[in-house]
Symmetry: C2
DNA sequence: TATTATTGTATCAATTTGATACAATAACAA
DNA sequence: TTGTTATTGTATCAAATTGATACAATAATA
């Protein structure tokens, strides 16, 4: 039996899949625990006086430095064998905080999965107190992750795919102003499917949520593309 | 501080929105606690040695008598004020099982919402040990529900609406064989939107997951409709 | 055999999407 | 200045999908 825990609620945690877009790849933030060779999603526990959503938001803020982020809950993982006693002990010992084997964090946990969409260029990834590094990894070549974290990532991608077109996904992965080509790339990577340039452009413009701005002169020897932004008043319909 | 609990994990529970279709209404099962005037969704706790999914399945089996049911997780509710101390005490006292105020069930709970789709005509609704009755209620006129259960129902309907067309929703709400008119009614009620009969029929047939069977002679003075069933081998594409 | 309420399809128009073509650049080189 | 090159933004016509309407094919019954 575990000792009582006063600060957090027990048996439940959250994990976040934090997505960023580099211009041609979708990446997520992965923690690495030194002295253990273990990789994991950023996650945490919920304080007794804190809403679940606020706990997740706090965690994402701590890892990324960002406050305004698009957070979406997508699935709760509740298989009975998803405890992390072994890695936790190893990590804690490695960090010089050995924990007794009846510590509450070693009990069974159900975890709520959230995904976050952020502007890649605005993030300062910061490791948590148990990990030594946090880094971006392309979703198509992740290191082997702890427990069921690979399944969590899978489900997150499914969810984002499902939400694209319903929720302002592009808005949050791209900078304020972007080209049509970048927007198309976001759609293509998320849906894992290529689009015909002309049809995509016509479709996006017809949906009437893009505002056109000045042109972007990159120095390339060809016609400069327009920059677009999402028209806030219409983005709900995306 | 609460005493230890050995059989269940704490701070986390589940609630189920069990949908049935009567032919022209979508209904859900609601428990009523006598001596309290309180209505609630069927729910329960998760045993330490039990997968979350299995706990929910067990609960639905106990309330409906059905074993093969379509269960889908849709959202987890984690606001900090969603404890049910007051109603729980009232209910337990009314049932003659007074509980001490430090009992684990009175602590804060995060709940995982699942919806179930079942064949209305096959169910034998059975109340749980704390409630005196369980009954079908149309989703458009529910009694006032406990805590945030109305929000849970809302989210369940949103989810089912979202899943229609992706998951075999119709399959589970209708009997094995059904008419095109019944199928259309299911779509209309879930999406809260009417369809043109001819377009709907053409669309459904073109999707190629319906098998046509014998005609249904109801005794009405008009052409008898065909009965259809979902072609199991193709229903994934629905 | 006519009547009535539905059901299952066919038909043609309207809309959306797919495929292709082409004019309009922005930088640079001759 | 004038070509050249790689893109970008639209126009155009064909193909596919959906909307609207019409109508033939019944089941029961008078």
């Amino acid at each position: 039996m575990l000792p009582l825990e006063k600060e957090h609620i027990t048996n439940i945690a959250y994990d976040t899949v934090i997505f960023g877009f580099t211009g041609d790849k979708l990446k997520i933030l992965i923690l690495e625990y030194q002295n253990s060779g273990l990789f994991a999603l950023p996650g945490g526990f919920i304080r007794r006086d804190e809403n679940l959503y606020d706990a997740v938001k706090r965690g994402v803020r701590e890892r990324t430095g960002l406050d305004k982020i698009h957070l979406e809950q997508f699935h709760t993982f509740g298989k009975k064998n998803r405890d992390s006693a072994y890695p936790f002990k190893k990590i804690a010992a490695g960090k010089g905080y050995p924990i007794t084997s009846d510590h509450w964090v070693l009990d069974r946990f159900i975890t709520v999965g959230y995904y976050a969409l952020i502007d890649y260029n605005q993030v300062k990834p910061t490791p948590d107190k148990f990990s030594d590094s946090i880094a971006w990894h392309s979703i198509d070549k992740l290191p082997p992750l702890m427990i069921d974290h690979e399944e969590i990532v899978e489900k997150a991608i499914e969810a984002i795919r499902n939400d694209l077109g319903k929720k302002p996904i592009g808005t949050n992965l791209l900078p304020k102003k972007f080209t049509m080509k970048e927007l198309q790339k976001v759609y293509e990577i998320i849906l894992n499917k290529e689009f015909r340039r002309t049809t995509f452009q016509r479709k996006m413009l017809s949906l009437d949520f893009l505002k056109r701005h000045e042109k972007l002169y990159t120095g390339a020897a060809n016609k400069a593309p327009y920059l677009y932004s999402f028209d806030e008043s219409k983005v709900e319909k995306e």
